[in-house]
Amino acid sequence: MNGFLKSYPHSLTTGGDPLIEKSNIGKEYPERTFEIEKCKIRELARAIGDKNKIFYDDDAAREDGFEGMAVPPTFFTLFAMAGGLEYVIKDLEINMAKLLHGGQEYEYFKPVKPGDVVKAKTIITDVIEKSGKAGTMDFVVMETTYINQNEEPVLRDKCTLVVRR
């Protein structure tokens, strides 16, 4: 993690925010609902520069065995902010200027397709304090599980936030 943190300017690190309490582990946030939308799939694929037709065209995706337009692996980042991150940032009173995205994991259980409606529930699974060359930081791990309209789990999102002091 050091290379990443070193590249962030020291000028952003001011003050001494209170520690993030371990007691936040296990905290659950309210459920939210999202729809998988075609325009957003195309928009994300285009921004990434991924020209694979299955992310733009239903027919191309069907020819490849999909039920509808395919969804890129990082698509669920669209729901990250409204899908839990916003709650966590407010609830833990995290200063955005000190917040870094340390790591991101996606585990895929079942494909989603346009028109699917997913429900998301976020839980804080870990809070760790780490000290290194770049100083002491709090690591907050949040996990969000997405369930489709048939109550089947489709994806687990594990996001590690790094909060500099």
């Binding site: 290379g3 520069g49 991924d50 490849d64 692996p73 990082t74 669209l78 902010m81 955005m96 995205h101």
Partner: protein, 141 residues
């Protein structure tokens, strides 16, 4: 592009996944990614903000780099084959950076009757700086 079919029997530990070399990141691309992803942190789009933050300008979204990693994997095995994708963010990207993602198969196994491979990958810029380090798990035919 058809969904590629990678055969489990043809892949051994140490196999080098075809690398993905992206076009240089542009400021316009960061604006597009902000709109697409909903991450409107001005550090990615407003030059003056990036300067004030000490980067000399805007920096790329971490999730854009992970998006490249996703493309790297789906180009190789297709979308539905990817069962897990995980990254650690190591350094920021900047406009004009040329990102290359490369990786290898590190484990090959059968689990619940499925043919699985674990992979490790790295995204670097044109100077060889590590942008992200990651792992992926894929189910092969």
């Amino acid at each position: 592009m058809a969904q590629p079919k990678v055969l489990f029997n043809n892949i051994e530990v140490g196999y080098e996944i075809p690398p993905l070399v992206k076009n240089p990141i542009t400021e316009t691309q960061l604006v597009m990614y902000a709109g697409a992803s909903g991450d409107f942190n001005p550090i990615h789009t407003v030059h003056a903000f990036g300067e004030k933050a000490g980067f000399g300008g805007v920096i790329g979204h971490g999730m854009l780099s992970m998006g490249f990693a996703g493309q790297f994997m789906t180009n190789w095995v297709g979308v539905t084959a990817v069962k897990k994708l995980a990254v650690q963010f190591r350094a920021v990207t900047k406009p004009k950076n040329v990102i290359t993602v490369s990786g290898t198969v590190v484990k090959k196994y059968t689990e619940d009757g499925q043919n699985m491979v674990d992979c490790e990958f790295l995204a670097v810029n044109q100077d060889g700086d590590k942008i992200i380090m990651g792992t992926a798990t894929a189910e092969l035919s």
